[in-house]
Amino acid sequence: MYQYDQIDQALVDQRVAQYRDQTRRFLAGQLSDDDFKSLRLRNGLYIQKHAPMLRISIPYGLLRPAQVRMLARIAREYDKGYGHFSTRQNMQFNWPKLELVPDILALLATVQLHGIQTSGNCIRNVTADHLAGVASDELEDPRPWCEYVRQWATLHPEFSYLPRKFKIAITGSPQDRAASRVHDVGLHLVKNEQGEVGFEVLVGGGLGRAPMIGHVIREFLPKQDLLAYLEAILRVYNLEGRRDNIHKARIKILVKAIGPAKFRELVEEEFAAAKDSAPVFDAAGFERIRAFFAPKNYEALQDQDVVTGKPEEFRRWYQYNTRKHKAAGYRAVFLSLKSPTRPPGDITADELDRVADLAEQYSLSEIRSTHDQNVVFAHVKQSDLFALWQELKLIDLATPNIGTLTDMVCCPGGDFCALANARSIPLAKQINERFDSLDYIYDLGEIQLKMSGCMNGCGHHSVGHIGVLGVDKDGEEWYQITLGGSTGGQDASLGKVIGPSVAHDDVALTIERILEVYVEQRQDEERFLDTVRRIGIAPFKARVYAPSHQAA
């Protein structure tokens, strides 16, 4: 993975010094709350319900053991002993002290980590497919491009005070494992008719209170034009995006208001006009970056049967929590952060330390975070799987549920977040209690359950096969249910609301009723999502709101 040289290191060190001075001026009363807010946010610091929240950038979800150990140390020394993986592959700490954040950032800088641009109206962490470089269906590894874009976006002088936040995701496989269609910009590595590899460019996707699927504005962009084209998009957005209303300021609103065709025209016009001054592709610089992502030195192995004769529990884990690897004899392994006893995405300091050790022992010293809040060991020898599984069981990271109902995505919600209308973590508990039979979960097959505590949508509810959104009704927590959302590939879609919101205590029961309808109606091995698409939401609505189900 990418290693800093002295320029990268100097930038991060100087950023820490700058932020230390900003914090000092704020505490001395020389910076107003508002002025400091804009500065602290772009270093990842929010003011939350109980304490500040610090978001650490994990560029495209890639970590080294030393970095994971540092996250453990920060959780232990500056937080309450745990951290939380977010839906954009970052790590969040919920209890740091504002005045100690410069010290935390200084520690992070020693292992090439930072909080730069993890919040604020600027270009955020560039995310990628968590199986990049190992997926067998991959056209090209997107991560060198992520790093290339990350560097360009870092402290970009022109695009650091945008109308609103700006998120970019890059994928290199036909299967979209990065939710790229619900990003401000989604970039897909694709091949054209001449066999050249370039980018398909989507703009205007996003979640939050006006969820939208992105529009393709360029079917094929030559690779060397990537930064020039991004600058054209950003410049049009920076000048034309709305700034009068925070809820109308994302690029998706601009694209919708003028239409994708007009937006594309403006971008192409700007792209052409900027030809002489736009960034020129730096082939040598890119090669330098790409070398860091060269394929690992895999041993020459054969695929083998590692499940025959092993316990049922292991076989389930193998089936659900491991994936095909492009190198024979290896598998990619998911560490589930969705056990019944764990708030989704949470991990303790001790577990982080252990994860670092295990990555060194079993996965070529590499750790990845996923946008659905799990961890991946991407390079595990098949012959090591049984041993690794036993180790993971000891730290509660082997729940065999990846891709199933209980592998749910969930924001921190009302327990922590000042924006939330309702709690989301207790829902995870409620759902785990109701659906405690793994056999039933397996029968249901692939289901993405995504829950957000408010319409800002950090839990990606709009694109859940089942989405749950917390709403406030006269100070009480209620939840709106949507069906049929999806982030996957060409068929990304937004969920449809099935009816009036349900009470907190009824959420799991409601989901159970929805799943009953699915089980009755499904044809053969049809996925839940496909059943919803085939029969529509009416049968689900009829069951959930049946007169016999209404409280007397």
């Binding site: 804009s38 402290l155 002088p157 650091s160 005070y161 000048l239």
Partner: protein, 163 residues
């Protein structure tokens, strides 16, 4: 007497805005964009120096044939969230090749100066109560940068431009 930062020095402003009186010994006047549009012909022959003040939605392209007459362009910022001026400045410098004085004016603060300077601003008119000596240190916040840019005089960064 208005003080501002020009090319990393604190100086006394020799320019006056159109609503200020008198024009001053230097006879250097900054007109609002709308007034320049309306009265362009009559001001062209005036014997003083001229500048134009732009708001965030003013069409900068309309000035592109006026640079022989306009020596200064001031771009307004209504607060830290206002970011259009960065693109306006970059366009003036790169596309329209404006080489005169480019001034950021309004509610700007120390922590924006590094970015502003990299977009081509060389003069900074901060709010009256700002400590300009403290603000001067902002140009040294970073000695490195990734992007190529239109660094104004006074910004010294080692670049490893990715583009």
């Amino acid at each position: 007497m208005r003080r501002l930062i020009k090319q990393r020095e604190v100086i006394v402003d020799e320019w006056r805005y159109a609503d200020e009186d008198p024009v001053g010994r230097e006879r250097a006047l900054i007109l609002p964009f709308a007034r320049w549009q309306a009265e362009r012909e009559q001001w062209w022959l005036w014997d003083g120096r001229l500048g134009v003040r732009l708001g965030p939605t003013d069409p900068i392209a309309e000035l592109k044939n006026d640079f022989t007459r306009i020596g200064l362009i001031a771009i307004e910022f209504s607060g830290i969230a206002e970011g259009r001026g960065y693109s306006q400045a970059a366009l003036l410098r790169t596309r329209y090749k404006f080489t005169g004085e480019l001034r950021a004016v309004g509610k700007i603060q120390r922590d924006q100066l590094f970015y502003l300077a990299r977009c081509g601003f060389d003069t900074f008119e901060l709010p009256e109560d700002a400590d300009l000596d403290v603000a001067l240190t902002a140009f040294d916040d970073f000695t490195v940068a990734y992007q190529g840019a239109v660094d104004a005089a006074g910004v010294h960064v080692q670049r490893r431009a990715v583009g």
